[in-house]
């Protein structure tokens, strides 16, 4: 249960969709099980919307991701602002062609004659025992594609503000939700609140080390920073919010100040977004660095089912604090 000034992550998504549909008749939602006749979405993110706006604008689709994404791309070209719900991030592999070859590239390939104001929502994340095909963090794949944006929120208020910005944006945006966070409660945002795309947030200022992260690890890093402050280590915590294109200015300003950086994400470390951010820091600030940039991610393995293995696969706070203490010398 939530009090009026608190909302859950799932409610935040629902409110953002509701506000977007109420404000703009061109917003429509396509996805599996999303209408009220099918329960309003497996995570209830679309509950009530088909009843309020009709099953024309809130369309339950077959389990056919190419058909969903293609329909969203076509409707977007024709002036709609579709939100395509691809239930799990791994299912994006089924419709990569529509997203990567079409949604992301049509503006450029048409010389600006067409564009794709599409938002794709998906959920993912290890920790609930879904195993190898429902848990991956694939954001680096999409960050590597010119022409689309990738975002992920760390709390309900910003989820709402970020999703509204994504829907109102004229470029395709992948909005990544975390399955472990749907019931997480947080402050309800003020009406009209938006999180601008491409802008990171410095959650906590610090002078010793910059921790750059996004999504679920943000709260963990806030708590860790609080503890480390007690040990005399002042951590600056940056929530990227937009993963691609990421807010280089905020990241570089922070690391120029602290001289140390640790990048934390749930995606596996190899070839992850941390590699790109680390490289940019080294390219711009090599002589200002007091230590090499550190990356903490999950292990190089498919997400395992067995709970001890799943926990061992995931990045941990211990790994972050160990890295911080190592580079603090």
């Amino acid at each position: 249960m939530s009090t009026p000034d608190k909302i859950s992550f799932a409610q935040a998504i629902n409110q953002a969709l509701d506000e977007a549909m109420g404000a703009d008749p061109k917003v429509m939602i396509l996805g599996e099980d999303i209408a009220d006749a099918q329960g309003g979405g497996v995570f209830k993110a679309t509950k009530g919307l088909s009843t309020k706006y009709g099953t024309g604008r809130v369309r339950t689709t077959p389990i056919a991701e190419q058909a969903i994404m293609g329909a969203a791309v076509g409707a977007a070209i024709a002036g709609y602002r579709p939100v395509a719900e691809i239930m799990f991030m791994n299912f994006l592999t089924v419709c990569m062609d529509q997203l990567v070859n079409h949604a992301a590239k049509l503006r450029f390939m048409s010389g600006g004659k067409t564009w794709v104001p599409l938002t794709v929502r998906c959920t993912t994340g290890a920790g609930v025992g879904f195993g190898g095909q429902h848990s991956d963090m694939l954001e680096a794949w999409f960050a590597h594609v010119p022409g689309m944006k990738v975002v992920s929120a760390s709390n309900p208020a910003e989820a709402k503000g970020l999703l509204l910005s994504a829907i109102e944006d004229d470029d395709p945006t992948l909005f990544i939700e975390d399955i472990m966070m749907y019931s997480q409660q947080g402050e309800a945002p003020e009406p009209g609140f938006r999180v601008p795309l491409g802008k990171a947030r410095v959650r906590r200022e610090g002078s010793d080390v910059s921790v750059i992260t996004y999504g679920r690890p943000v709260r963990l890093m806030d708590e860790m920073a609080e503890r480390l402050a007690g040990e005399g280590i002042n951590v600056e915590v940056i929530d990227l919010r937009t993963i691609a294109p990421f807010d280089e200015e905020t990241v570089l300003n922070s690391v120029a100040k602290t001289g140390r950086a640790v990048i934390v994400h749930e995606a596996i470390k190899s070839f992850g977004t941390g590699a790109e951010i680390s490289s940019r820091i080294h390219e711009e600030l090599f002589s200002d660095l007091k230590a090499p940039v550190q990356r903490i991610g999950s292990k190089y393995a498919p997400v395992p089912f067995s709970p001890p293995l799943e926990q061992a696969f995931l990045y941990s706070e211990d790994e972050v604090t160990t890295a911080i203490k190592r580079i603090m010398g």
Binding site: Y80, H102, W115
Partner: protein, 331 residues
């Protein structure tokens, strides 16, 4: 579900002449591309459409200019028949900033919303789900537009075809799936790649109306196209048209196509749709002079288009940073 074509349904003279004009606009464009490639005046990967002109011309004549078209990399016949200005098309094929897409898309990605050419895809089968989306927009907005998506027989073996037909039928979308069965998918003959005896046989599984026609016969093709357009516009749902035709040249310009049996090539030459159409018009009382005047007007448009394309500038290098996202990428 397969419809029976009403053979007595004639096509009026003015419509027939319009189909012929569009057919010749395609024929001459394709011919000029091949001439210029042969003489070394142009360098690009070109997918010839020789033999498929009348099919496209008949389909597009049944549409309005603002109806939507989605086609493929072998799509110049569809684009030209839809009405795209030749100078814009030629400038795009030559990579010039005056092209439909500022030279940034090229032959495989022609886009011209002014003539309803919304997407040209280089990925086999990918256009079908997108066509559903365009049709979905029309269904929701009630703008009355119809979407046509063109693809080859080879595309009916990819998953996107099946997902798209199911959804279009489920939602009764105003979309027409125009399969141009030219008997070869790249270098592989129909029978070696396709389990269905004919493409129309795939429609009943999706509860979809379907019709098989001789795509090279303008009367048959136009009547099938018109019926499908009328159904879509009336909100009665999608149609799959299997239009039989033949790709008279190789997969790409200059490519060997000795894999096509000699007898089939001979048969196709004997059934070339362009001379047959001319004979039909003459038999219907259209004069040689009228035909010559149509051709002369196309030649003039084509000469001007080629001259325009060759004399136009290439895009400035700043275009690398423009249209990637709405906001220009920082230098």
């Amino acid at each position: 579900m397969a419809q029976q074509l009403d053979q007595t349904n004639d096509v009026d003279g003015a419509t027939l002449i319009e189909i012929f004009r569009r057919s010749m606009r395609v024929y001459k464009t394709d011919e000029r591309f091949r001439q210029m490639l042969m003489s070394g005046k142009l360098r690009l990967v070109y997918y010839p459409v020789r033999g498929q002109e009348v099919l496209s011309a008949s389909m597009m004549t049944a549409l309005n200019i603002d109806d939507y078209l989605v086609t493929t990399y072998r799509g110049v016949h569809d684009q030209v028949a839809k009405g795209i200005p030749l100078k814009d098309l030629w400038a795009e094929f030559t990579g010039k900033v005056t092209g439909t897409c500022k030279g940034k898309g090229g032959p495989m990605h022609i886009t011209d919303p002014d003539t309803g050419v919304m997407v040209t895809t280089g990925i086999v089968g990918a256009g079908l789900p997108i066509a559903n989306g365009l049709a979905l927009a029309s269904q929701e907005s009630g703008d009355g537009r119809v979407t046509v998506v063109c693809f080859g027989d080879g595309a009916t073996n990819i998953g996107a075809f099946h997902e798209a037909l199911n959804l279009a039928s489920l939602w009764k979308l105003p979309v027409i799936f125009l399969c141009q069965n030219n008997r070869y998918g790249e270098h592989t003959a129909y029978a070696a790649s396709t389990s269905a005896k004919q493409i129309v046989d795939r429609a009943p599984g999706y509860g979809m109306e379907a019709i098989k026609v001789d795509g090279n016969n303008p009367i048959e093709m136009y009547n099938a196209a018109k019926a499908a357009v009328d159904r879509a516009r009336a909100g009665e749902g999608p149609t799959l048209i299997e239009a039989m035709t033949y790709r008279m040249l190789g997969h790409t310009f200059g490519a060997d196509f000795s894999y096509v049996p000699k007898e089939l090539q001979e048969e196709a030459k004997a059934n070339d749709p362009i001379p047959a159409f001319r004979t039909l018009l003459l038999a219907r009382g259209v004069s040689e002079d009228e035909i010559a005047a149509i051709e002369a007007a196309i030649d003039a448009e084509l000469d001007a288009a080629v001259e325009h394309a060759l004399s136009s500038e290439y895009p400035g290098l700043e275009e690398l940073r423009i249209d990637v996202l709405k906001e220009e990428i920082r230098a």
